[in-house]
Symmetry: C2
Subunit: 99 residues, 2 copies
């Protein structure tokens, strides 16, 4: 069982993501972001980097890809909503997409 984000963690760790292109998914305690790259190689290269971190942390995104666009939803089934794993993976994705 993974702990859901506390109110303090939502302020400290979730708010920066929501200020950086992530938004709450309607009807779920989950966050979503659309990443747009230059082409498929860049988009899938991003996914490959994320996949290695996701497997390492044993926390996997719900995601889809159409050519240069990657749509990501993060939530933690064990926690019944957002957990620290989601904010950690979301921040990692932002770093990888920018790098």
């Amino acid at each position: 069982m993974t702990d859901a984000l506390t109110k303090a963690e939502r302020d400290s760790d979730l708010a920066p993501l929501l200020a950086n292109g992530w938004h709450m998914v309607e009807g779920r305690d989950a966050i979503h972001k659309q990443f747009v790259f230059r082409n498929f190689i860049e988009a899938f290269g991003f996914m490959t980097k994320v996949a290695l971190w996701a497997e390492k942390w044993n926390h996997h995104p719900e995601w889809s890809n159409v050519y240069k666009t990657v749509e990501v939803t993060l939530t933690t089934h064990d926690a019944g909503g957002l957990s620290a794993l989601d904010t950690k993976l979301g921040a990692k994705m932002d770093a990888l997409a920018g790098g």
Copy 2:
């Protein structure tokens, strides 16, 4: 501009896919299949192999992944529906998923 599948090609190249887990998408001239693997490593490994073929052939799937499941939709925007690129990529995916 890519040519849409002819009636003869639908019989020879599309029918075998429809007999192997692919189905027509409602309201679109497109095919869909759900691939289920043992775990994320197998699922994303499959996606990585497909990605290389997709880029090589310059024909990319619409796809999504949640842990061990990969959902794929194939169609050709240039052709306004299914083309030989879709049946080729679909058959390649089946081969890669089985290997």
